[in-house]
Amino acid sequence: MRLLQPANLKPLFILLLFIPTLLAVPVTEASEGNSFKISMPSEFLPAMDKNGSPQYITAEQIEKTLQHHSKEFKNLYWDKRIKQFILPRHQWLKELLAVYDTMLKELNVHGKAEVWDCENFSSFLNALATVRIWKTGYYDTRGAIGWMRVDAKYEWAGLPPVMHALVFAVTEYGLLVIEPQNGQIIELKNYPNKEFIQEVFLF
């Protein structure tokens, strides 16, 4: 009975606090022994409409918006089997960009002319986003995330005005232009080089 006195319960309480520590840490390390680690974005979250259903957009709608803003627009390349593209939630997209930056650091990836350049930064992000969308069970669509070529005339996001590849995405905030090398985002209507967007790839 003396064991149940409050003074004697303190060490027991401390021991109880330690149990999760003892259980959690060594198991993780042991089971992941010889593997290598890559950070990935968390579960895909779609933008929702007022009824609580995921929002979608068609390639034709995207094309129309781009034609409206760019006088140099030539082509939208997309997989004709895809009827509509699911919109990512803006918050998820921002997280995707932050995790992408971490992931590239983990993989020790740096830009290298002609080997790993702006097109790679853009298309790799695009592919990773698609896989995360599948993970959530959206197998019959693809995210409204793609990449584009712009013959930039004005500096933006710290990148010089040259032929450049960038990411674009459609969220509940509209069509956005993204610099995947530093995560900067701007609405298409405010993007200084919107008139010079030439080709857009939605696959």
Partner: protein, 202 residues
Amino acid sequence: MKYSFTIQKICISLFALIIFSGYTESNAADVLFLKKVPPSPEIIAVDGKAKLLYGNFIRKQLQKRFPTLKTIVVGDKRYMFITEKWFKDVIDWAEYFITQQVPDIGQLEDLPIAYESTLQMLMSNMANIAVAKRYNVKGSVLIGLIVAKSEKSWGAIKADGKSRQYVIGLTENGFMIYHIPTRQIIAGKDFPNKEYLQGIIF
């Protein structure tokens, strides 16, 4: 008494730290543990220099050789040749990478829509990362995507006239063509539907 109080404080702090780190990680990102590392790059060299082809040269050759090709999208200036073995290794690794994230993919009746282009983008980018880390070459790995009508049968693929997508790679044995759903691979010169190419992007 003083001693046990300090222990108690340390334990509570540790506990709080563990709970907090677990909370932030689960809300910020997932972590993927991969047991299989990306395969080491194998590029083709001639006289100690990487064997390269200009993108524009490839475009002109394709236009000349395949008049049915309506869309040719060339992304880079120069492309290197890789070994056929490494091309196959990169296919395996990219498929493994996807399966690790989406284990259910193998149970699906049909692959997800846009699977071919996503696998191709992962392959191309991972291959270029590997080359950039190991070699000092100004050129890109040519791993692209082609679309061709199935007018002639090829193994498990019927001659049904449907358009199908394939991954293409430039290797020491020329272009290799890989069909993802049936896992068939063939040299470009032997590809039965080469006369029915519709588009290529690399």
